[in-house]
Amino acid sequence: MAEDKPIRVEYYALLRDERGQSEDLIMTTAASARELYEELQARFHFSLPWQRLAVAVNDEFQRWDTTLYANDKVVFIPPVAGG
């Protein structure tokens, strides 16, 4: 079984509203960004499925299957609306 590792998650926009705060420092066994989102979605009842989001790890866009390492900073990106 995978070991727990610390991951910092920042929340923006809809996700911040749904989480009720802008950051979590969590211990997780999630191997990928997608697993982490599904874990958090179950816990905090995020309304959007991962397919509607993008993900950034350490301030750079990454694929959903990207491996997470201890102390990574993860940001889930809801549908954007700039401009």
């Binding site: 809801p78 609306a81 700039g82 401009g83």
Partner: protein
Amino acid sequence: MFSLSFEPVVREDLLDALSNEQAGALATFEGWVRNHNEGRKVVLLEYEAFEPLARKEALRILEEAKQRFDIIEARCVHRVGALKVGELAVWIGVTAAHRQAAFGACQFIIEEIKARLPIWKKEHYTDGSSEWVNCREHAHAH
């Protein structure tokens, strides 16, 4: 040059910075806060950005514009924070020797900005409700 600004945009400063004796054309685009969207009356917008990635991605877009179009310079400012109806939300300016490149790059930049920057917009309506645009559970982005 790209920046996220909590303050209103001062156009003259941006235009002065683009001034260039080789340039024969300037195309600009401004996005303004409209008083309605999809039939609902808007009183206020909030823009929020994931700042480090928004800046990086915007600079990549401006660089791509320079690769694709024969332009001299391109600048963009995006507002963040609370904006009232009529306020300028995004400003793009592109200089080139000739107008076709300036127009093409300007359009390219706004399309990419809208599609790629991690920036979100919450609309506040006259009935007191509010909503993150494009984030409804069963909606699709426009």
